[in-house]
Symmetry: C2
Subunit: 180 residues, 2 copies
């Protein structure tokens, strides 16, 4: 389907509560373990989502609206959460993500975007020309990518515990598909 | 990590609220569309989870405890939800899933399982011998498989809307891995 702003907002507004319901107060055996070297735990993923709220989506939308294609976005730091999440609990990160998302949806609303704004173009440092519409659709699907990833990371912890059923559990066949 | 009953219960008890937070009152463009012929929508998946609560996990646990390997489980009907979800709203299905899961966790608690019970074996009609421990671990990872699937189904609806970002969004590279 085509991108529509209300559909995008309906997803973006639900992600913090969905992650909260899934992760808050879970045993750390689920939330702090990863899939092996150089991979992320659920805790790391929530930190990554926070960093996106601070530096990626709304800041990039503003760059598109202000500069169009004349100014490329800042590259996104995919490992920032190692630094920024230090010393915090998962509960604190979930609170912070919910607060930032809510603020950013408020900012999005205040931009009062019209259809012609959504068609405006900016410049991604690696992908080249992209539209504001594509940026906002990506914001929502980025949430889904990380829900997909968190379910896979947690399932990985029981890959042996399920015994012969591993053949039937799709999430255990998923090799991970995110760019490095 | 090894299967431990409290860890399994901690996941099982969160899934209904996580799906509720993600899906309730979302536009039907997200929840009723699938990934193409013979695939499921998020609505279908919730119906499938309900059917599992009714016919799979606790009934199979009882068969293991009562009959051991002498009686194979009933095969699971992966298309039952087509019939059973008819005429219901997604909100009704989410309510039904939450209620059944809560009842089943109550039944699990009442079984008062000891370590030696978890090691008891039953017989899966296709996979052969399986333990009660493996069945219960699979119950939890089956939830994660379907959270993984729902995130992928919904992302699929925006596969074109994200434009060139599709290369970076892992969930859009996921081919689906469940057995037919």
């Amino acid at each position: 389907m085509e991108h529509t702003l209300p559909h995008t907002i309906s997803l973006l507004s639900r992600t913090p509560a969905a992650l909260d319901a899934l992760l808050r107060d879970l045993p750390e055996a689920w939330t702090l373990r990863n899939e092996g070297e150089n991979s992320w735990s659920a805790f790391d993923v929530v930190g990554h989502l926070i960093h996106g709220e601070r530096t990626d989506w709304i800041p990039r939308a503003r760059i598109i609206l202000q500069f169009g294609e004349t100014k490329a976005f800042e590259p996104f730091d995919r490992w920032a959460q190692e630094r920024e999440s230090q010393g915090k609990s998962l509960g604190q990160l979930l609170d912070e993500f919910a607060r930032l998302r809510s603020e950013n949806l408020g900012e999005l609303h205040a931009l009062n975007l019209r259809q012609e704004d959504l068609e405006r173009r900016g410049r991604h440092p690696a992908l080249g020309p992209v539209t504001l519409s594509q940026l906002l659709a990506t914001w929502a699907i980025h949430d889904l990518t990380h829900i997909h990833q968190i379910s896979r990371i947690m399932a990985h912890q029981y890959r042996e515990a399920v015994g012969p059923w591993n053949a039937y559990l799709g999430v255990l066949q998923c090799a991970g598909h995110s760019a490095p």
